[in-house]
Symmetry: C2
Subunit: 169 residues, 2 copies
DNA sequence: GCTGGTTATGTTATAAGCTAACGCAACGGT
DNA sequence: ACCGTTGCGTTAGCTTATAACATAACCAGC
């Protein structure tokens, strides 16, 4: 286990970073959250979470399914993975990248009312969240001015992360 | 044809508004845009556009398919509808609501570089776009600060439109 | 340790969303 | 009339997601 610098949070982690602590952090947080909310972090949920959190990329439900099948031997039904993902999403450990029908782990433990801007790299698939209070306030204002009662706002940005655009242009 | 007030643009139209001018406006704009860009507003494209623009709601591709089947007698292949939708999206006449895998007509004719906040009512399904330059600048700043080169930003807000939350609470 | 309610997962089937590949047809310029 | 381009039809298949119902695991209280 090489000594790389700790992952940059928030933002994109160093590409050569040691991911083990990231993963461990997510799992630890899962244990806390599930415990606190009286939910059960079952074997299946833990395995699904581990797959999703095994990188900083967004993965499809069927990717998770395939990976679990490769590791675990037998193949689960899609619904099983979706159920686990739903639970993890509700717990706030995993978020859904709507613009890509994919899921990514939340490595940062931001507050309950998620007001994070999601950045998704088109090249490497990495996903990062950054704070955006001002942006969300602006959205709330704009919505309010239209007589709209906002319940949730989704901000997803596509583009190139630092590594990828540094490399290719 | 009753004389209701003209549709409120931008924002949500009055629920009892006369929709005919909205629809006619979209079609007229389509003719202009297709003409200007040397594209062909074919029968199929026009019919798909009419279905999408027949309300201020977002509709799924298969809804369009079903409605055309009901009207036109024979049932198209999904791909035909998707091709038409793609063309209309490229032309800027229809937008895709990513968070719902659905499509809605653009009734407002905003400038090319679309920087609009999309408001989608969870109850009635109505969709409206409102300007959000400041919001998008904030997003660009936040992305830039993370070393991210933004190519496109998506802002979709779920909630209750004026009519719906006035009615239900 | 059995019982019974609750929660989680398995099983089966299917809905919903989307696209590849290929061929014919319609359009439009020369 | 010809031919290149664009649009559409047809067939087939993939990806994403959920409904409905059965079984299993968990756990609180007796």
């Amino acid at each position: 286990m090489t000594m790389n610098r700790t992952p940059t949070v928030p933002g994109f982690p160093d590409p050569g970073h040691d991911h083990a602590p990231c993963l461990a952090g997510v799992i630890a947080r899962a244990e806390t959250i599930f415990e606190r909310n009286g939910m059960r972090l079952t074997e299946l949920r833990r395995r699904v979470l581990e797959e999703v959190a095994s990188s900083h990329r967004a993965v499809g439900a069927y990717d998770v399914l395939d990976r679990l099948a490769r590791k675990g031997g037998r193949r689960l039904a899609p619904i099983s993975v979706y159920r686990a993902l739903d639970t993890l999403v509700v717990a706030g450990l995993v978020h859904r990248l709507e613009s890509r029908n994919a899921y990514f782990a939340c490595h940062a433990a931001h507050p309950a009312n998620r007001r994070q801007i999601v950045l998704a790299c088109e090249q490497c698939g990495a996903v990062a969240e950054v704070a955006g209070s001002a942006v969300f306030e602006g959205i709330a204002d704009a919505a309010g001015a239209a007589g709209f009662r906002m319940s949730q706002a989704l901000v997803e940005v596509s583009g190139a992360c630092k590594e990828c655009h540094g490399r290719s242009s």
